[in-house]
């Protein structure tokens, strides 16, 4: 059989002069590394127009998707992935039980204008799910805020009702939560697990000094020690192996300057528990006014690159919460999916959680107490991933489908800001992510 290189191959230099190969269409199952001695051989193969499948190495590259049958049009495969990603018959609801928060983080974009979700809104959500769940294969709830745990009673009530509805309709149900971690005790985790919450994201911004500067209580008080103690207790006392915790760090200048201490500290605390992984990213201007007093602390691309380099060079291995973002379609934002909605504490239905107050096109409906929705189908359709927005023939297309931020597309931000090139964080950080994975706990398989 004659083969040709896939148009979705990506390569970067690996450790010891080797090569890391990744195929965007295949996702993480394609990830391999090639030794230095075979690097030129593979690179030449991937530049060839025709390759005969006549040896084990070529057959392996074929099986992994780096080489495909010569007659194949790979773009045909994108159709089913696009449909499965954007129109998948799974209902995704991002619920904000409150928009109040017990923290005042220095870069937060939220206005905290709305309080706890009213009882009639909760009733409306329950009735909406009861009346409509039969149309979907599954329900995924993402608890957001504000800080969802300061409205724990709302989380509990809705979770229990939703679980009963899903069971009686024989529907899959799972939930996740984004929380600042201050109230996330082991006991709380166990209670939430009973309610179907298995995945948690907690932000810890560096060590005590930087975290307690960036992520303070409403009264300015410190939070680092409480959160770390909570997570260590969770490690020791919430033993279900299905739980997953992502520790996210919004890196600023001070954190970057002390990244080696960060690596030592967090490796010592959490590397022994495979349920804990890390998401390291730069703190950014996510909007709002608060950032204006904090802007000088934001880091540039070179400083962030140096942070990744430290992880890459370290002999302390971490688990990074990045693999899921390398799968086909994973670069499509939740807001670009047909059946994904964010419901705020007042019962307004949005697509994107970043623009509740200042983007008219974001509010696509309102939920009534009887579960009926005033829905603007036109606005919802505007948000659906537009597989024709940015550059054609991009290697990253199977990941983001050329529309990684529908909010930016709708507001035409890139054109107004004269952004040249790709605005996709996924694509622009692919190199760093692959190198991080090579030096992570699981590593990347060296095939030959």
């Amino acid at each position: 059989m004659m083969l040709k290189p896939s148009i979705y191959n990506y390569q970067t230099e690996g450790k010891n002069g080797g090569l890391i190969l990744f195929n965007v269409l295949q996702g993480t199952k394609s990830l391999i590394s090639i030794s230095q001695e075979n690097r030129s051989y593979v690179q030449n193969l991937l530049k060839s127009n025709e390759i005969e499948n006549n040896c084990e190495k070529i057959e392996l590259l074929n099986k992994k998707g780096f080489l495909v049958p010569i007659e194949q049009d790979e773009k045909v495969k994108l159709k089913s992935i696009y449909l499965d990603t954007v129109s998948r018959n799974d209902l995704i609801l991002i619920l904000l039980p409150t928009e109040k928060c017990n923290f005042r983080c220095k870069y937060c974009y939220e206005s905290f204008s709305k309080g706890k979700m009213k009882a009639e809104v909760q009733d409306g959500i329950i009735e909406f799910i009861r009346k409509n769940i039969h149309k979907y294969n599954s329900l995924y709830i993402s608890w957001f805020g504000g800080e969802p745990l300061i409205a724990y009673d709302v989380v509990e009530r809705l979770s229990k009702e939703i679980q009963v509805i899903c069971k009686s309709n024989r529907k899959k149900y799972i939930a996740s939560m984004t929380t600042n971690g201050y109230l996330l005790t082991a006991e709380m985790v166990k209670r939430l697990y009973k309610m179907g919450v298995t995945h948690f994201q907690v932000t810890i911004d560096g060590l005590k000094e930087t975290h307690d500067n960036q992520r303070v209580l409403l009264n300015g008080g410190e939070t680092f020690e409480t959160i770390i103690n909570n997570l260590c207790n969770v490690k020791n006392n919430a033993s279900s192996r299905m739980l997953r915790f992502v520790i996210r760090t919004n890196v600023t200048k001070k954190i970057a300057e002390n990244i080696e201490q960060y690596i030592d500290y967090f490796h010592e605390k959490f590397s022994d528990d495979p349920r804990f992984s890390f998401a390291i990213q730069p703190a950014m201007d996510w909007g709002g006014d608060t950032i204006n007093d904090f802007r000088e602390n934001l880091i540039n691309e070179i400083e962030m690159f140096n942070v990744f380099e430290k992880f890459y060079e370290s002999d302390k291995k971490f688990r990074f919460a990045v693999k899921e973002y390398l799968e086909p379609g994973s670069g499509v934002c939740y807001a670009g999916k047909q059946n994904s909605f964010a419901i705020d504490a007042n019962g307004n239905i949005h697509k994107c959680t970043c623009y509740f107050d200042d983007m008219d096109m974001n509010m696509v409906g309102r939920i009534k107490h009887d579960g009926v929705i005033d829905f603007d189908e036109y606005k919802n359709s505007l948000w659906i991933c537009d597989n024709n927005y940015c550059k054609e023939n991009c290697v990253f297309e199977p990941n983001c489908f050329r529309d990684n931020c529908p909010a930016n597309r709708i507001m035409d931000v890139n054109k107004r800001n004269k952004v040249i090139g790709c605005a996709s964080h996924g694509k622009n950080n692919l190199d760093k992510v692959l190198k991080l994975l090579e030096n992570s706990v699981d590593g990347i398989e060296l095939v030959f």
Binding site: D90, N137, S138, Y140, K167, S168, R170, K171, K172, Y173, I174, Y193, K194, G196, T198, S239, S240, R241, M242, P274
Partner: protein, 87 residues
């Protein structure tokens, strides 16, 4: 769930699977490979969490492998074993 307390572990497991959207022929005498019923990771997580919560057990890492589901009978025995450990 009605009458769950008087069911065998296997019968109760079948009921829990049904409530998670996995409908299997409970009258069949042959063993069942559950892997064919797990359509995606959401299904897997949802099913395991439901089983853990319903039986008040926690599966160890070595059980949480896809191939542990290749036999409903063997999986029922694993659940029985965890229940006995709890008692």
């Amino acid at each position: 769930m009605e009458n769950m307390q008087i069911m065998s572990t296997k019968e109760k497991l079948i009921k829990v699977l049904e409530l998670s959207g996995i409908i299997i022929d409970s009258k069949s005498e042959t063993d069942i490979d559950l892997r064919g019923y797990i359509t995606d990771s959401l299904q897997y997580i949802s099913t395991i969490v439901s089983i853990e919560n319903e039986f008040d057990i926690e599966f160890p890492d070595e059980v949480l492998k896809y191939d542990s589901l290749m036999s409903l009978n063997a999986f029922s025995e694993i659940v029985d074993g965890l229940l006995n450990e709890n008692n």
